[in-house]
């Protein structure tokens, strides 16, 4: 296990994934804002939330990078295309499992069952994040594939 590679490249790949997602937002493709969603777990102020969320996302990305590194060790090789495949799987899991689960644990995210007493202000992601825009699934998958390719390629080189 390349621990140094994991710690550095996991960080780089997560920064890249976050940058891609933010670019997609700025480009008008999706309203999925991972730093905002993660950060509003700890604060309601959107600007502070984005800063906190970015740090949380880095930590979460590092955890996922550990899983990628473990897969590469099990498979006996780290390549960009294996990384890309893992990224596609990761993106699909994020859309179908992680995002929907957030509704149940996030203190400021409403659910589709929210009623008049709901004080949650973040709208729920809906099926595969479609509430955040029709392009959200594509953007999410693409960003995670890029994350996997980056990790695979960087660990392959190291």
């Amino acid at each position: 296990m390349d621990w140094a590679g994991w710690s550095l490249f996991g960080l780089l790949a997560t920064v890249g994934l976050t940058a891609l997602m933010i670019s997609a937002q700025l480009g008008g493709l999706s309203r999925l804002d991972l730093p905002l969603i993660l950060g509003t777990v700890v604060t309601p102020d959107p600007d502070r939330a984005r800063a906190a969320g970015f740090l949380i996302h880095l930590a979460v990305g590092q955890c996922f990078a550990l899983g990628y590194a473990g897969c590469f060790v099990l498979l006996g090789q780290a390549t960009w295309w294996i990384g890309g495949l893992l990224g596609a799987l990761h993106g699909a899991v994020a859309l179908t499992v992680i995002l929907p689960m957030l509704v149940g644990v996030h203190p400021r995210m409403a659910s589709h069952r929210a009623g008049p007493q709901s004080v949650a202000v973040l709208e729920p992601p809906g099926l595969i994040g479609l509430n955040y825009g029709a392009q959200t699934p594509l953007v999410t998958i693409a960003a995670h594939v890029a994350y996997g390719i980056a990790l695979g390629a960087l660990l392959e080189i190291s």
Binding site: Q25, G28, L29, S30, R31, D45, P46, D47, A110, S111, H112, R113, A114, G115, P116, Q117, S118, V119, V121, L122, E123, P124, G126, L127, N131, Y132, G133, A134
Partner: protein, 603 residues
């Protein structure tokens, strides 16, 4: 089944609203639910007889035969509806509602509870349950699980259960006898891409009663001294029912294609959210002391407009997406043969300048009420102001979304002025570059000059509908609220008088613009929000007694349960257009608030 024959259209005002802040049903005074979209306001109708004819389904629970005088009301400060019929053998009462608060409990997100009870003797009743889904009125696959009747389509399921051994068959009338002391409770649950949650009648009834208590608590916070408080409370409850809780989006109305003229083609889909309505709602809720709801509308505005900023979309779906293309349901007969029935809304592609003014005014009101604007909120508002500064010289479609062509609408220009004025005021308390602020200020002054030069007719002493136009527009009634000119000035008063004179539809009604001057076939009714704006305008310009009388007259025009459509036939006084209409109810609330404020100022 009575549903198989064609029936006379039920007057729009005969319908009452049941809702849970996620979707809503319309029920007539015979106890028939003729409109319910699932699982959301903008979903497919499962009971669509309102505009889809007999084949579109309905759900009736009421007396079997002709029944005598009907009394109908919402239980005070709740959204639970009570309808009572006098029959030859006794009195029959239907109590019904939808459970709004289901979080934290194993309850379905759509839970409709209807209870029939009798007094004075056994009463013959009937249940007609005929669910059909969507454009083609698809019949469900039906199966039974004990007392549960389950109707399924591929992704949706509807279940009916009741505490009676009677076997309901979809599409067939089932006679029932209700005896005193033995009420019958029906429970309808909906599941969308999830398992059905079975709720027995006792549990469902208890959930509805808990909901009633929550609504009563909600209403208790409303100012007890408001003029026409009961009407205001009903309007606030209606606005809240028309707010989609999962995203905070305000729905303009829960219906599509209720006609603006009977038998005509002015039929639009209002199951969407207009940022303008959200902004007006912010002011209405703030004024009535409902701070959380006001903030929720602003939060929705920020989230929903994110992909389009700095452009402000005219309308959006409940989750902030652009509506699908407008299409016509050619096989649907429409309400009172008013075709086409439309789904989707083509107005979404228009450029409307006035929306920016409403939104920035709402932000300013929030800020003035002590709610700090987050940096992101301010950045969004500043972006809107930049957009106005850049585009105000262009013609727009105007507040009435006329599809013919664009013009330099005076009301739009005034609202653009309002946007820049509020941005300048907000900039005093939010970090803004000096050059940006100066630009807004310069453009605001240029706008005023432009409006007063091109949008005012000195001979008639009134602002006009558009530059160079000989017509007036009831949207100009917002003038006394803007701060554009002193409300008591001759120009403002001349405009109010011109609107009252030239757009009079028979007191207290007003047309929004000269009838027929919109490029569409046929005519339309009087536009109810304009009459409420007139109340506000009079109250804010020192004509309080006139305003009070006008509001008294308007409150008397409500439906029997206190609801308003968008328009009203000036001759027959029948409600027209989508129903109930959030903009009309916001207008009523703001009119009452204006009276309260004006009376306080006079004291």
């Amino acid at each position: 089944m009575s549903g198989s024959r064609t029936r006379e259209p039920v007057p729009i005002e005969d319908y009452a609203l049941l809702g849970d802040t996620r979707t809503a049903a319309l029920v007539d005074s015979d106890g028939s639910i003729d409109w319910l979209c699932i699982p959301r306001f903008e979903g497919q109708p499962v009971f669509g007889r309102l505009v889809g004819g007999e084949a579109a389904g309905h759900f009736k629970l009421g007396p079997a035969g002709p029944a005598g005088p009907v009394t109908r009301r919402y239980r005070p400060s709740t959204n639970t509806l009570e309808t009572t019929w006098e029959t030859r053998s006794g009195r029959l009462t239907l109590t019904e509602g939808m459970v709004a608060e289901v979080s934290g409990e194993l309850l379905p997100s759509t839970l409709l509870v209807r209870r029939l009870s009798a007094e004075g003797g056994p009463v013959a009743a009937v249940i007609e349950f005929d669910p059909r889904l969507g454009d083609r009125h698809r019949r469900p696959r039906v199966r039974r699980r004990g007392a549960l009747l389950v109707c399924t389509w591929p992704a949706l399921a509807v279940a009916l259960t009741m505490d009676s051994p009677a076997q309901v068959e979809p599409g067939l009338a089932q006679p029932l006898t209700i005896t005193p002391g033995h009420p019958l409770t029906c429970v309808l649950t909906v599941a969308d891409r999830e398992p059905l949650v079975h709720v027995d009648p006792v549990t469902a009834w208890n959930a509805l009663e808990r909901d009633e208590l929550r609504w009563q608590d909600w209403c208790a916070e409303i100012d007890p001294d408001l003029p026409h408080r009961d009407a205001v409370v009903r309007s606030l409850l209606t606005l809240r029912l028309l707010t989609y809780s999962p995203s905070g989006a305000p729905v303009a109305a829960p219906t599509t294609s209720l006609p603006e003229s009977l038998g005509g083609g002015r039929n639009w889909d209002y199951r969407y959210s207009w940022p303008r309505d959200a902004s007006i709602g912010v002011a209405a809720f703030l004024g009535a002391g409902k701070q959380a709801e006001a903030r929720a509308f602003m939060a929705w505005l920020l989230s929903a407009t994110r992909l389009d900023r700095p452009r402000l979309p005219v309308l959006l779906t409940l989750h902030g997406k652009h509506p699908r293309s407008e299409r016509e349901l050619t096989a649907w007969p429409g309400y009172a043969a008013s075709t086409p029935v439309r789904v989707g809304n083509a107005a979404s592609a228009q450029h409307q300048l006035d929306g920016y003014g409403w939104v920035l005014d709402a932000a300013w009101l929030l800020s003035r009420s002590g709610h700090r604007l987050y940096s992101e909120t301010w950045r969004a508002m500043a972006g809107f102001a930049d957009r106005v500064a850049e585009h105000w010289r262009e013609p727009d479609a105007g507040i009435w979304e006329i599809r013919a062509d664009s013009a330099h609408h005076v009301h739009s220009k005034m609202m653009a002025w309002l946007a820049l004025d509020r941005a300048v005021r907000l900039a005093e308390h939010h970090r803004t570059a000096g050059s940006r602020r100066r630009r807004w200020s310069q453009e605001r002054d240029a706008l005023r000059e432009d409006i007063t030069r091109h949008g005012f007719d000195p001979e008639r002493g009134t602002y006009t509908r558009s530059y160079g136009s000989a017509e007036v527009d009831a949207a100009l009634l917002v003038l006394p609220q803007l701060g554009f000119e002193a409300p008591e000035s001759a120009r403002v008063q001349g405009t109010l008088d011109a609107v009252a004179r030239e757009l009079d539809a028979g007191r207290p009604l007003l047309f929004r613009y000269p009838p027929g001057h919109d490029g569409l076939d046929g005519s339309e009714g009087a536009f109810l929000p304009c009459s409420f704006w007139m109340v506000q305008a009079l109250a804010r310009s020192g004509r309080l007694p006139e305003a009070q009388v006008l509001l008294d007259e308007l409150v008397a025009l409500a439906s029997p349960v206190g609801l308003y459509a968008e328009e009203m036939d000036p001759r027959t006084r029948r409600h027209l257009g989508n129903y109930p209409q959030a903009l009309t109810h916001s207008g009523l609330i703001q009119a009452a608030l204006a009276l309260r404020d004006a009376a306080a100022t006079e004291r």
